[in-house]
């Protein structure tokens, strides 16, 4: 048996006296599409920050493909094949879309901190950049400064940068927040295509998206996982209903 892609063991995180993540243990298998849902403030983004190395856990461990990564700086974790997106767009605002994606590509193409060769010299980098742009339908906006992109495209770019490095484990934090219906559909499609054969962990409040994408759903409430099961089970889980979905819920209700 291979090690799970991601494995959290007794993970805890406190800020001062506030215990935000409380003894979370969770295994996510390779190739799984895993969704994390939960009320606002439950600690979903915090959990992502712990996994991606932005925060160090108060106690407990995180392993990626069996290697311990808690305490490792984010860029090392990224090099080990884990990539994440942010809840608020976090792109290189003054650079063009193409440059944004190219920066995401560089490291995986072995460019390192090189200052003796041109970025344009490497065909592989150029091609990979183009592929990603095409994949995310950003080709025709490639030379626009990222800051001028419409919101939905910024979110797409956020995803593009995240997948550019070819990471095997991808963490997406509310990728469709603030999108309209049709935009959401496009984004879901993009996510599905980009994470083919990879491990995906996604946080979303849009139940449509979640039930559409996820193989398995974990529900995080006040820093604790109260349920972790396939969508069909979650839908019927009374505890989850009470804590998160409420009685209105499911499925789409937005215009």
């Amino acid at each position: 048996m291979t090690a799970p892609a991601l494995s959290l063991k007794n993970l805890c995180k406190s800020f001062g006296p506030a215990k935000i993540i409380n003894d979370v243990t969770l295994d996510i298998a390779k190739g799984e599409r895993h969704a994390i849902i939960g009320p606002n403030g439950a600690g979903k983004s915090t959990l992502f920050n712990l996994i991606s190395g932005l925060y160090t856990p108060t106690s407990g461990t995180v392993s990626l493909n069996g290697t311990l990564i808690s305490g490792v700086p984010p860029f090392e974790i990224n090099r080990m094949g884990l990539s994440r997106s942010f809840q608020v767009s976090n792109i290189f605002a003054n650079m063009t879309v193409r440059e944004n994606v190219r920066c995401g590509v560089l490291h995986s193409m072995g460019q390192g901190y090189a200052f003796w060769k041109s970025v344009t010299a490497s065909k592989a980098v150029q091609e990979r950049t183009y592929e990603i742009l095409e994949h995310c339908a950003l080709v025709d906006k490639a030379n626009l400064p990222a800051a001028l992109l419409p919101y939905a495209d910024q979110r797409a770019l956020e995803i593009a940068i995240t997948i550019a490095g070819g990471a095997e484990v991808i963490l997406l934090d509310e990728p469709t927040a603030g999108m309209s219906h049709s935009e959401t559909d496009r984004a879901v499609d993009l996510i599905r295509r980009s994470t083919e054969g990879k491990t995906l962990v996604i946080v979303e409040h849009d139940m449509g998206v979640i039930f559409d994408l996820a193989d398995r759903i974990s529900v995080l409430v006040y820093g604790e996982i109260i349920a972790s099961a396939p969508p069909s089970q979650i839908r019927g889980d009374a505890k989850v209903r009470e804590a998160y979905l409420g009685d209105e819920a499911l499925p789409e209700e937005t215009v």
Binding site: P39, N40, S180, H205, Y244
Partner: protein, 235 residues
Amino acid sequence: MTQPMLQVKDLHAFYGKSHVLRGVNMEIMPGEVIALLGRNGVGRSTTAKAIMGEVAPKGEILFKGQPIAGLESHKIARMGLGYVPESRDIFPTMTVRQNLVLGVKDMKNPGKYNIEQMLDMFPNLRARADNPAGVLSGGEKQMLTMCRTLMGDPELIIIDEPTEGLAPMIVQQIGDTIAEIAKTGVAILLVEQKLSIALRIANRVYVMGHGEIVYGGTPEDFATRDDVRKEWLEV
């Protein structure tokens, strides 16, 4: 006949060269809850910003009969208009309490709400009252923004997309809160996408399309207007 709380007549607004509002007309009576619906990008937020003076308005805006178009934001606010922007804009380095204090316009005559009431209304906030607001979760931030605006004792609140990015449970809770606030006699202009809440709490509904108001009526009437819904709201 009572005077309308807010009257907007032939309002235009621009972002650079793009003409976003093309003659918006609407009216809000005291104590009324109005839902402003429309697809993404039709200009609902811009309408709110133009009223609040954040975007330069062209046209007439009367608040309690007085023209406010073109005034500076703080003057508009002092006349009794509250605004909860889409971006929430909590003050991240300050504590929840300090955020609330800042909602008060004049320390000498505080409004009808005080901080304790607010914290009672949202236990989540009480638990974080002395934390910097920047670390609040998305939903907590939304609650805080609304409370902060209430602290200024407004007569009309414009709330832009209060439920965006919130868990389904909280969405309901926010809806209830808004209804609650409305009961105290504060008029509300609610910019929303989620029909269910909008229809539940609104007295009247406006629908916006391409920078104009394309429909106005009661929720009951709106429920019958499949044509409006098809043309202006659905994709």
